[in-house]
């Protein structure tokens, strides 16, 4: 058990850390999250075994721990400046910076839904599985989050997809 788990942890630590960082936006907290999730994975290792199952389990623990943590800690408290006027879609790095700041203002579950859908490329069904909610809830959370981002940053910066509010 020890060597298999160690191999899994060493192999996937970087990816899991980056995922946790996208969820919480703080390096120290991301480190704690991954540490805690790997401890839980170690405890559950006998029934997981399959590295794919272990990774999915660890990701789920990270997600739910992050949501619970940020749910308790007010996500409205982060200071940020107003969006400067004249920001254009061509200013890619500025756009990404402001989008990142806006993402951090989203409620934790909405942010998690976006990370799972658009960074991890999970389907709505897979995202619902990780978030432990209905597929309809994933759709509404993503839709609300995208609407908020668009309202804040403008349609020029965040144009609508052909399909509408982003699948």
């Amino acid at each position: 058990m020890g060597e298999e788990f160690a191999e899994f942890a060493r192999g996937r630590h970087g990816a899991l850390y980056r995922y946790a960082y996208l969820l919480v936006g703080e390096r120290g907290l991301a480190d704690d999250l991954v540490q805690e999730a790997l401890i839980k994975t170690y405890v559950a290792w006998r029934r997981l075994r399959d590295p794919n199952a272990a990774e999915a389990y660890t990701r789920k623990v990270i997600t739910n721990t992050a949501i619970n943590w940020w749910r308790r800690k007010s996500y409205h408290e982060r200071p940020y400046d107003d969006l400067p006027e004249g920001i254009a879609p061509t200013q890619d790095s500025s756009t990404r910076l402001w989008l990142w700041n806006e993402l951090l203002q989203l409620p934790p579950r909405q942010r998690a839904a976006l990370v799972l859908r658009y960074y991890e490329d999970l389907t709505e069904v897979q995202t619902a599985e990780v978030l432990n909610c209905a597929v309809g809830t994933v759709k509404s959370q993503v839709s609300i989050a995208l609407s908020k981002l668009r309202a804040r940053l403008g349609d020029d910066v965040l144009p609508l997809d052909k399909a509408g509010a982003g699948r």
Binding site: Y17, G28, D32, Q35, H76, W100
Partner: protein, 360 residues
């Protein structure tokens, strides 16, 4: 739009260098937790049979009515814990049947509990077991006196509810339609509900429903609990690399930094005594620390790591050793400032089952 989202996420992720992996700490902590868990593979035939019988009885009696027994008073804080499906309250044993109990809370009208894999919040009052609510997954349940608070799913989102368990009256209701912010209820204490909402901390009088903001927006700490007008919270340190800090704050005055956390902030627990004079801190693998608010003196419960159970009185609490066998220890904070602990019950989970203490 999704392209720029993906680019933003990918850029941020790529620019973030993971810290070194502390595999030794993970395995050490994981092994410690495993020791506390049931060794499921070695369950004997007798235990299996007992479990099947218990499950069958539960199915036949969906409301899990207990055999006739006197109605117990639950106003005293007696040593309380659960092992598997059995609740121990002082010398009283309450069988709930079926799956293992996952969480436990003491109230004046009985013991509230949830079971693994179930969303039912149930109340055992010594005569019967009844479901009082269906709670949202991951929801924290709080209780004090005759009241309890939880979060229920609704067709449009979630709803935070505080109810009087004796009368069934709903005393607080907060709907969350857009954002299922399920843990905004911080504490129930002294006839008040404390709610952390959009950076503010509100106090709601449970008898009148009046609300008062006791911390304005911009309150940057995470309130863990409030008891005896003392709030325990976790706040970030001054520097980005600082470790999180536990604060103890008098709601009527200022706060003081009590402890810089040594381990993960997810592995910390801090419980205030009923009148708010002491704070017990459980920080990772370390021995329990007891902080005296008036003297600012801190003491530890011996050299061994212990797991905090619950307060029995203002100066006495229950704990257990973090190793097998699972002995219960009763610790008393003495006037001299030190702490005396002695074993009060030996090996309360002989089968290796998980021991669950009340969370209040």
């Amino acid at each position: 739009m999704t392209d720029i989202l993906k680019e933003t996420f990918t850029t941020r992720a790529t620019e973030t260098e993971p810290p070194p992996l502390d595999l030794d700490a993970i395995v050490t902590t994981g092994t410690r937790r495993l020791r506390r868990r049931r060794a499921a593979k070695i369950l004997g035939t007798t235990l299996m049979a007992a479990a099947v019988i218990a499950t069958g009885l539960t199915v036949l009696r969906p409301h899990a009515v207990e055999p006739a027994a006197p109605l117990h008073a639950f106003t005293d804080r007696k040593t309380t814990y659960a092992v598997s499906g059995t609740i121990h309250y002082g010398s009283t044993t309450i069988e709930t049947g079926g799956r293992a109990i996952q969480s436990l809370l003491l109230t004046d009208v009985g013991v509230l509990f949830t079971k693994a894999g179930s969303r039912s919040l149930q109340l055992a009052d010594g005569r019967s077991v009844r479901t009082v609510a269906t709670i949202a997954p991951g929801s924290t349940v709080l209780a004090a006196g005759e009241t309890a608070g939880w979060v229920e799913p609704t067709p449009n989102g979630y709803r935070t509810i505080v109810k009087n368990l004796r009368t069934g009256d709903e005393v607080v209701r907060i709907d969350h339609i857009e954002e299922p912010d399920r843990d905004r209820l911080v504490a129930l204490d002294g006839g008040y509900a404390y709610v952390q909402e959009q950076g503010s901390l509100l106090r709601i009088d449970l008898s009148t429903g009046s609300r008062r903001t006791i911390r304005q927006a911009g309150f940057t700490k995470q309130a863990l609990t409030i008891r005896g007008d003392q709030m325990v919270s976790i706040g970030s340190g001054d520097l980005p690399t600082s470790k999180p800090v536990i604060w103890l704050t008098d709601l009527g005055g200022s706060g003081s930094q009590v402890q810089e956390l040594s381990g993960s902030q997810f592995d910390v627990a801090a419980e205030v005594s009923p009148e708010g004079r002491y704070l017990v801190i459980s920080d990772g693998n370390q021995a329990l620390q007891v902080y005296n608010r008036s003297t600012e003196h801190r003491d530890v419960t011996g050299s061994q790591p212990r797991i905090f159970g619950h307060w029995l009185s203002e100066t006495t609490f229950v704990a257990t050793a973090a190793s097998r066998p699972t002995d219960l220890v009763t610790c008393t904070v003495r006037t001299a400032g030190d702490i005396a602990c002695e074993v009060s019950q030996r090996d309360v989970a002989p089968g290796g089952d998980q021991l669950v203490f009340p969370s209040n």
